[in-house]
Symmetry: C2
Subunit: 290 residues, 2 copies
């Protein structure tokens, strides 16, 4: 069976493994801290490729930042990774074909092929983590837009300019629906500016009223965002993945969303392609074209 | 050249004309008030079809309400038209093939083929009128979603629950960006609850400070909505059409939007397919398949 070397490059960690064309991980998963220095990042990726490329058919990169429609290079903002990273020439690092895709898009593809949105032609995936990522499937294809940057979940949820977003603007869905969003909501409700996301989850587990109210408010903000996305896309389902998804009650969210849609009902479900869905999705995409 | 009988069915007016496959209107345009009674609406449509069907190749209906993916019937909410309208069996009214599409989708298609988004593979069209309609083109195809209802512009712009939307929820883009939205914004700024949209426009023309502030605030709300849509779709352009579009400053809106995008720049332009773009778009779609 054909196989891809998959590399997931984020601002904090870089992972790699080998994935077959069924989307199964068929090697150990290696984990590295992302170096601060650009050259060190590029040398690490080169080393990973050199060690593995003879054993695979293609190289699949899932990366932070928007990726062009040719799946060759990064075009957009790349968050907290070394400056200049977006100029990385991945193809020059291997004699095999290299395929590059945004990590959230890759994860959405994994959910679409082997995960929670498997039989859905139209779906929206949200990765709820420190921030919020998005990947959208329309008629069984990834939504890429004119330049490849589509699926960014920076739409306004408020007009009060109280919360500044990582994108430089105010009041984006991300700054409400992310882990950071939960923290800020809990700080407002409890009056404790130093409360952490971990504190909130512990509080909920201990039946703390204010923490439970913060979690509910956070879910209601997620509901508000999904109402808009579902009215715009009329999707078969909305998939929640990422480290914060485990704290959502998708039955509650589905029910609340469907109360207010002008489009036919949708369902909100948790992702099932696992923690390495970015690598799996990138590999499945790479193996389709290479 | 092949031709379609095009009929535009709205809650207030019903229009009909004949459109050729270049998107040119090649007959007079007939205008009727939409009857209150369902039977009278259906009889009027039957009469229009009976009078014209022998002279055309196909029948194209642009209608209020969401239309299914087979383009045969209405599935969604139909606003202020007679109850039961959505059950209308259009095909039974003609011996020619009948093609049905949502009016905003049809207008977006007209802009895509002969109008302001002509050379754009990816575009978002907003019709700014009493309410707000939407039609989205992705990779040169209409976005329809799982059931045909995609493109509804009911996403939240606020969390303060001050403005109830026609959809039953609060704070939708529609209730800020529509003519009604401008009226409500002007009422807030001037303190006059009876101010009309017409009064605001007259005030702007007379250099009235409060009316100018209301128009600017209305445009800023449109900007906020477009920022979200452009980050989600990464479109080549955003087209503003409908009766209120003439009061927008698209250079200002483009400039403001591009200040805050995380995706590459887009441009916001006025529609150029004219007041009858719904009929033109429906005809062009019908002539492609029938």
């Amino acid at each position: 069976m054909r196989k891809a070397l998959a590399i997931d490059i984020g601002g904090t960690k870089i992972y790699n493994c080998i994935v077959n064309e069924k989307g199964e991980i068929v090697s150990d998963i290696n984990k590295h801290s992302t170096p601060k220095d650009l050259c060190e990042i590029q040398n690490l990726i080169k080393d990973i490729i050199k060690t593995n490329e003879d054993n695979v058919d293609t190289i699949a990169i899932a990366t932070c930042g928007a990726v062009n429609n040719d799946n060759t290079k990064i075009i957009g903002s790349t968050g907290n990774i070394a400056e200049g990273y977006s100029s990385t020439d991945f193809q020059s690092m291997s004699k095999k074909n290299v395929f590059v895709e945004n990590d959230a898009n890759a994860a959405a593809w994994a959910e679409h092929i082997i995960g929670a949105s498997k039989d859905a032609a139209n779906s929206v995936m949200l990765t709820l983590g420190t921030g919020v990522g998005g990947g959208i499937i329309i008629d069984n294809k990834l939504l890429k837009g004119k330049s490849g940057a589509a699926g960014e979940m920076h739409f306004k949820l408020s007009r009060d300019k109280k919360r500044k977003c990582t994108c430089g603007s105010y009041d984006c869905f991300e700054i409400y629906a992310s882990g950071n969003g939960l923290r800020l909501t809990a700080a407002e409700i409890t009056g404790n500016p130093d409360i952490t996301t971990y504190d909130v989850i512990e509080g909920v587990n201990n039946n703390n009223k204010a923490c439970k109210a913060a979690l509910r408010r956070w879910m209601d903000d997620i509901v508000d965002g999904i109402i808009g996305l579902a009215n715009i896309f009329d999707p078969d389902c909305v998939v929640l993945s990422g480290s914060m998804a485990q704290f959502t009650d998708t039955d509650y969210i589905t029910n609340e969303v469907n109360k207010y849609l002008v489009t036919p009902n949708t369902k909100v479900v948790k992702g099932s392609a696992g923690n390495y869905s970015g690598m799996i999705g990138a590999a499945l995409l790479a193996l389709r074209v290479n």
